[in-house]
Symmetry: C2
Subunit: 153 residues, 2 copies
C-alpha cells in the first residue's frame, strides 16, 4: 500500500476550513464544481468532473467520519478502479493564525503513474482550498491548468 500525503497552512480558523470541506458549496468551490450528495456520516458525496462541457467522470465518496474543526474521512465507493476502497482524510489543527491541514489519500495498491498524477493534482487542489479560504476564490476543476499533457486535466 502506498499513500499520497500533503500539508498546507491556511491563514484562517480550523472552523472555516472545516466548512469548506463539509458543505457542497465549499467543496464545489475548491475541488470540483459539481458536488452532489449528502454530507453526513454514512452519506455519499458525488464529485463530478467535466471538460469542455462534457462530463468525464468522477468519484463517489462515502462519508466515514466528521469531527467538526478536526477531521474529515471519506472512502471511495465509485470511481477509477485504482481509487475504489482508498480513503481520503483531512486532519486540522490550529497553529496561531493558521489552520494546518494534513491531507492523506491512503491505501493505493500500487504506485502507478496515475497515482503519481493524482499526488500532483491533490497538491494543486489543496492549494485551491487554501486560496478559497484565504481569498474567497478557489480553482475547482481547473480547465486552464493541464498538468499531464496527455489527458483532459
Amino acid at each position: 500500500m502506498v499513500d499520497i500525503l500533503h500539508r498546507i497552512g491556511i491563514k484562517a480558523s480550523v472552523d472555516k476550513v472545516y466548512t469548506a470541506l463539509t458543505t457542497r458549496e465549499g467543496l464545489s468551490s475548491w475541488w470540483t464544481d459539481s458536488t452532489q450528495g449528502e454530507n453526513k456520516v454514512g452519506g455519499v458525496l458525488k464529485f463530478c468532473f467535466s471538460a469542455a462541457g462534457v462530463e468525464i467522470g468522477g468519484f463517489d465518496m462515502k462519508v466515514l467520519e466528521l469531527h467538526p474543526a478536526k477531521r474529515v474521512l471519506w472512502q471511495v465507493v465509485e470511481g477509477p478502479d485504482d481509487w475504489i476502497g482508498t480513503k481520503v482524510s483531512f486532519d486540522l489543527k490550529q497553529n496561531g493564525d493558521h489552520a494546518i491541514v494534513i491531507f492523506k489519500h491512503l491505501g493505493w495498491t500500487e504506485p502507478t503513474e496515475f497515482m503519481h498524477h493524482c499526488s500532483t493534482k491533490w497538491a494543486m487542489y489543496t492549494m485551491s482550498l487554501k486560496a478559497l479560504v484565504e481569498t474567497g476564490k478557489g480553482a475547482p476543476n481547473p480547465t486552464d491548468v493541464h498538468i499531464s499533457g496527455d489527458g483532459p486535466d
Copy 2:
C-alpha cells in the same frame, strides 16, 4: 520507507527538460536560485534557499546517475536530517508533443509532517519546472507563496 511521487507533462522535448534538470542555469530557474556545484556523476550539487535575503538552509545532492533525455538521480548528502540518504529521481519519456516527468523522492524513514510538506512543495516545484520549460519563466524559491504558514516557505 515512504516516498513522494509526482507526474507532470511538459509541452516540450525530453531534451529540453533534461537540460533544465542538469544545468545550474536550469536548476536555478525552477528550484532554487542559488545552485552551485558540479553536475556530473559523482559531483555534488548545492541547492541553497534564502528568505528576505537571509540564507535559511538547503540541500547538497550527490549526482548518482545522468542518462541524457531519460533519467537523473541524486542522493542527499547534506540537509535536514530527514533528507539525508534519501534519493531524488526524474524519469523522462516523450509522449507525442509532451515530455512526461515521473518524479520520486524516495526513502523517507517516516511519513512526518515535514514529509507531507515536502510532498506539496515538490508538486509546486515540478509545476515551476513545467512553467520554466514551456514559458521560459519558472518560480524558483518563491517568496510570494507560503504554503505552510508556520515557516519561511
